[in-house]
Symmetry: C2
Subunit: 483 residues, 2 copies
């Protein structure tokens, strides 16, 4: 087997080649970020245009890494929408700080898989520890600490967090009968509740978990977009009277559309009264709680069974990084745990460690905590607070200009970093406004509908966004509105 | 708002700092890989020892990046189990080629989120294209091509792939009644089938999707560990007679325990007869199909409704990277699609593009295809085949030595890269063998139970593993067995 010894180590790219290519790629990223403002934010190619640049079959022979990296410019860049652009005001910020890029790189370089504590203790312990840090940093309740009966875990997204929270709720509601016998043999249908402004991931979770779309109540909202607690109570009572089983409520802190904040305190009272699991989706806006003066986003958190927010949104950690906290980890773990013989190990059996595979859908997991740890440390809490405050101030500055413009109206009063506005002439005029702003190339905004009305959303939160960028998009909006 | 302009750009680490730290981290990774063989593969600290090195609260002030990176050695490394070690023979290989590290770095650097085609067309198109490449490279059926009615999508893990396949199967079985009304109101319980050697993720998917553990049949296996088709047929007929609804079968190509291969052809015939969804989990062993002479792993693939394998196992792409192909993408997409107003866009409505959010649990997704694309191109198919062949040859070499040792027995005949062996004196002796090999520090093996017997597994597939390493673990095993 002498020829086996000639297999290049490790793979076609050797360590020196990796150093060289790695340095070049780091520089390419720095150059990309430095020149990003000069690119149109979101210029779409024709469908299929990217594929058309690729050969029909994978190469038989290895290609030089330089040719591969060069294709980032030739093939990839024409099909990139620049989420890191200072003019990114669409959807939500998906920041990728330099620190978090380094964390992702370190994770890939270590190449460990943290399904069990014992398959890389640092992967589990850094995660647990940093999520405890965040409980303190955000002023969240102590019952989310790993030193209590609860604890935190990183998920890829708030969608997955909602799914596992719902499954835990489902099992608590049926006393684990649905886990054993399935929903078809575990009694009357379970019902989930959220507002009609909630994120689509709640509907997706309800369908994935087998509850059925018809058993999700999209409760009406008030003028600000917040769930109406009276309507929730009425819906729960109606379902109980109909012989259904209310089980789960997802409240939203910062809805996707207009960033509305549900009254978690009032919702929690209903949940306690009827024994419902209370999940809170604070995906974008949860980060605001870094700042004392914005801690209204935490109201009612002490009553939540589960709470999630996305550092990959407004805390500048690169996608994917969602934090899910639960108040009672036993319920979650029991619903998700499978222990085959091949994963048995002394540490697990000692009961002294956390095995995060039992807190998520996948078995495997990478060392995702590194990027969060790096970002928290490099920015420091002060640095992160300054960032949040700057975005809120910029959004409020834009709102002031909207208020001052007779052709525009604020759809809701912004409390954080999202400005939701419309043209006073109605949807067609608002659509023209959206199209004109996006045609400019310097900005990208997205839309929603709110109480039937088309809305132009300006979500301020990209790491690169400066006050000048927000003023510029304000100029463009006002100029177009006044035409 | 002059002070806002002073906010450092972007974040505390500026572009020059990122260049410097990035170069240093790339070199650190190269150094780690170069010295990895000198470290004990899996030396576990005391539970809590990693956390104990961290301060109780996140820092208020930002820390210098050098101090943060230095903690990779001080804090992280003592809690790392070295999955990239040449003596890694446990569980499965979770390779992280230099090429795939670069792909992950590029993905983090671009920082795009590919939930929709329109949110970065390259993210979707490179993925679709490379997964079509793999259909050809692996000799899989054309119905998995995106140009047919099917197509491929990247998932984080085979667990998530199994879950979404099961949900699509569930909805096909109930004609989407469970999607609408939920399982509690959609008729008799659905039943899923897999072998008693299948991966735990199948049970997890069955429970998450609301079918209930009691409606998963763990069908018995033959002496090689392969699912017995006659037992499957009997189970299906029994369930039908009991008024239940058989819906889903997951066949395994390369079981976790002893790498057994289910008879997919025979299973497919039963699936066709009874209208069951056939999913195939080829997580580790699917990669073998790169080599013509190992294409027995594809037998029956042309009948599968869904098929998954993990490039993050034996094809050296860093975790996480699972490929799921479906024969009929419409079934999957219908089961997973939610289209809120705020995600509507012209490209989606044209019907000319793929929106991968409808193919997975999460909404968001990063540009995961880059690392697969980079690895395929840098190795070339020839390079990947050479790697697979070297691992198979090394495993067969080890098996030969086990056969020759009177104190050892092969539990099954290895067909690929996994050697499953036991001490002839029984479980206690096998446990001593496992403990002794792992105590050495140069190797890490794991275990399973097969037909009641404790088994020492030697999974050969780490990128760094050379024939000398396999000979060394063979020496250690034989020496201990003969003591």
């Amino acid at each position: 087997m002498a020829d086996l010894e000639q297999q290049p180590t490790p793979g076609p790219l050797d360590a020196d080649g990796f150093r060289r290519a790695g340095h070049a790629l780091v520089d390419w990223i720095a150059d990309y970020r430095a020149t990003i403002a000069a690119r149109p934010v979101a210029q779409l190619p024709e469908p299929g245009a990217v594929r058309a640049m690729l050969p029909p079959r994978a190469p038989e022979r290895g290609e030089p890494i330089d040719a591969i990296l060069a294709d980032l410019d030739r093939v990839v860049m024409p099909g990139i929408v620049h989420w890191q652009h200072p003019g990114w005001f669409a959807y939500f910020p998906a920041n990728s700080s330099f620190e978090s890029i380094l964390g992702e790189l370190a994770s890939a370089g270590l190449g460990v898989q943290g399904m069990l504590w014992s398959t890389s203790p640092a992967c589990t312990e850094v995660e647990t520890h940093v999520l405890d840090w965040l409980v303190h940093a955000l002023g969240l309740p102590e019952r989310f600490l790993s030193t209590s009966a609860g604890g935190g875990v990183l998920q890829d997204t708030a969608s997955s967090a909602a799914l596992v929270a719902l499954v835990a709720a489902r099992e608590r509601a049926t006393g684990f009968a649905s886990d054993a016998r399935g929903l078809a043999a575990a009694g009357a249908p379970l019902v989930a509740y959220t507002s009609d402004q909630a994120h689509s991931s709640i509907e997706k979770a309800v369908r994935l978990a087998g509850l059925g779309k018809e058993h999700l109540r999209l409760v009406e909202v008030d003028a600000t977009g917040a769930l109406r607690a009276d309507a929730l109570r009425a819906a729960v009572e109606r379902d109980l009277a109909a012989g259904l089983r209310p089980a789960f409520v997802s409240a939203t802190i910062g809805t996707t559309g207009v960033n509305a904040i549900d009254p978690v305190d009032e919702i929690a009272a209903i949940c306690r009264e009827f024994g419902l699991w209370l999940h809170v989706d604070a995906a974008m806006s949860g980060t605001a709680a870094l700042c004392e003066e914005l801690r209204f986003v935490n109201a009612g958190a002490e009553h939540a069974d589960s709470w999630c927010f996305n550092p990959h949104k407004w805390m500048p950690v690169n996608f994917d990084c969602d934090v899910l906290w639960v108040a009672d980890r036993a319920a979650l773990v029991r619903a998700l745990s499978v222990l085959p013989e091949y994963l048995r190990n002394a540490a697990t059996e000692s009961g002294r460690v956390i095995d995060y595979r039992d807190w998520q859908v996948p078995l495997g997991r990478r060392f995702r905590a590194l990027k969060l740890w790096f970002t928290l440390r490099s920015f420091g809490l002060e640095g992160l607070r300054a960032l949040v405050r700057s975005h809120v101030a910029m959004a409020h500055g834009l709102a002031e200009r909207v208020r001052a413009c007779p052709r525009l109206s604020l759809v809701v009063e912004p409390r954080l970093n999202l400005v939701a506005l419309a043209h006073v002439d109605g949807d067609e005029a608002t659509q023209r406004l959206i199209d004109a702003v996006n045609a400019d190339g310097r900005f990208f905004v997205s839309h929603c509908r709110f109480h039937g009305r088309l809305v132009l959303r300006v979500s301020v939160g990209a790491l690169a966004t400066r006050d000048a960028d927000v003023r510029a998009v304000g100029d463009a909006i006002v100029a177009e509105a006044m035409r």
